[in-house]
Symmetry: C2
Subunit: 292 residues, 2 copies
DNA sequence: TCCTATCAAATTGTATCCAGTTTGGCCGTT
DNA sequence: AACGGCCAAACTGGATACAATTTGATAGGA
């Protein structure tokens, strides 16, 4: 596992729903992502964030660093007790995480860490490809010398973290690399989109990565910087494409994990012998995605 | 204005944060968007949605159809009274709308319909271009004859709505066209992303469209279908690119609207003669986007 | 012994209540 | 008369209390 998770940059720079500027007439509720021009301020001290944001950050990090593996139940009461707040704040946090796709929430069933299917994984990686190729192309056009230095510093940190065995920080920084690149491209919606995809990629990796492949990708990041600095758009796009492809190659998406969608598994059965309750399942599934 | 707003398909098919499937082992909290293969069920009756979803839908539609113009204050108490629920439910709804970028929420100031800046608009349209070009390419590869028929029916409805003067429905259907295309491409994250961008485009149009340009785009949609049916990916991409470009051309993004970011307007002033409170503004603006 | 139905514990969803913040108005001072 | 500060009303943020739903367990019957 390597190079595709990210946490801090995304969390810190985005006091999400209720930050904002106090005296502005214009206003875009798009998550406030600082442009690279103004000292991105990657990791604002957690202390000075609002409680809800702090909790969000902690849970987010825990998920990305896989201390909370996919499928883990996230009880509102338990979380509230842990962080010393009422369920109100926890619910707000969970709603945000759900919206970003890292947890799934079911009516009257609570929240759990998302367990993307192989098909989900395929779609997410493809979406990342679409977004990040556009980002790297734009970034190659716009990047300043200062920003190149920032990226290089980031990769240096990333490498240092991995080399001194601090895998957690390494994973985080490797995600931040992709985020910082997105900020360079100066497109807030795209950056926000990629941020979510990166975090979901983390879940995918923890589920589908083949055991042996513990290759870290800071060297690919360094290579990417070189190409971007060179200014060749198409070359940069190809480099990013290859980088993302390598991520996909380390996954085993061929065989779906054991636990898949039950209704799909038993789709051929006309009407199960089960209790009448089976009906409610079908009804609840009305507006839901159904691939194939 | 035409062809870029959308409401129903997105709302209806997406009992957002707390829908989900009841008996599935796999689970992806990505918004559940039905695939085109299974009768998309574009407009499930509002009656059978949960209250929170119903309210969300009503507000969402009102914003997209510009019955709630940008800048409108959305008081929790007022909304709660209108829909006959407590503020709790309203807050949940507002959080969701904020996540999707159609409203902006400020700490202790409440929610208001978003007023994207010209720069926001530029970024949103560019993001749409990135996403929709990829979508149309993929859709051209995968589309079935059935899906082509669905798209044609949709455009027919769209045209009929406009021709009988039902502009509201027309606007909705014209957005649904883009959404349906995204569903054909069979990539849930991309479809979700585009959904948000489409709704934000609606806000942009209501702010920046030049008065004269009341051209409706069902003919361009029909043309797009033809090209897609033809199967030429590059041709389809070019057609979509042109279509999106036309949207941008109808906007006046050159001169920022009157009300822009105050801090930017008075940036050249060293330190306003104002009360000490000016400081808090600067502090609150710490983690916020700062273009240029 | 196995199956079914009823019931209770647990947990989420919703409403209400209290606290903190903002904002506009009023009053005193200069 | 104008400016600055104080105060109260309005509204949002958070916590607690109550209602609804799920789910596992237990008792009854075939």
């Amino acid at each position: 596992m390597s190079c595709l998770q990210g946490a801090a940059i995304m969390r810190g720079s985005r006091p999400p729903t209720n930050d904002t500027r106090p005296l502005s007439g214009e206003n875009m509720s798009m998550p406030a992502i600082p442009s690279p021009a103004s000292k991105p301020r990657l990791r604002p001290r957690l202390d000075q964030l609002k409680r809800a944001d702090r909790i969000y950050g902690h849970v987010f990090d825990a998920i990305l660093e896989q201390r909370l593996p996919p499928g883990t139940k996230l009880s509102e009461e338990a979380l509230g007790e842990i962080f010393g707040v009422s369920r109100t704040v926890i619910r707000k946090t969970l709603l945000r995480l759900a919206h970003e796709g890292v947890i799934s929430v079911r009516h009257h069933h609570g929240a759990m860490v998302a367990t993307p299917s192989a098909e989900d994984a395929r779609q997410i990686l493809e979406a990342r490809r679409v977004a990040e190729l556009a980002i790297v192309r734009q970034a190659t056009r716009m990047i300043t010398r200062e920003q190149i230095t920032e990226l290089q510093d980031l990769v240096a940190e990333e490498r240092a973290s991995f080399e001194r065995g601090d895998r957690g920080t390494g994973i985080r920084l490797s995600g931040e690399f992709h985020m910082l690149l997105a900020l360079v491209a100066n497109n807030a919606p795209l950056a926000h989109f990629v941020r979510g995809l990166i975090s979901q990629t983390s879940l995918i990796i923890s589920q589908y990565e083949v055991p042996g492949s513990n290759i870290c990708s800071y060297d690919e990041h360094a290579q990417l910087i070189k190409v971007i600095r060179g200014g060749g758009e198409e070359q940069a796009v190809r480099a990013m494409d290859a980088h993302l492809a390598h991520i996909g190659e380390r996954l085993n998406l061929g065989a779906e994990k054991a636990s898949t969608d039950l209704r799909e598994v038993f789709a051929h059965i006309v009407n199960g012998p089960g209790r009448q309750r089976a009906r409610s399942a079908a009804a609840a599934g009305a507006g839901e995605k159904k691939r194939t």
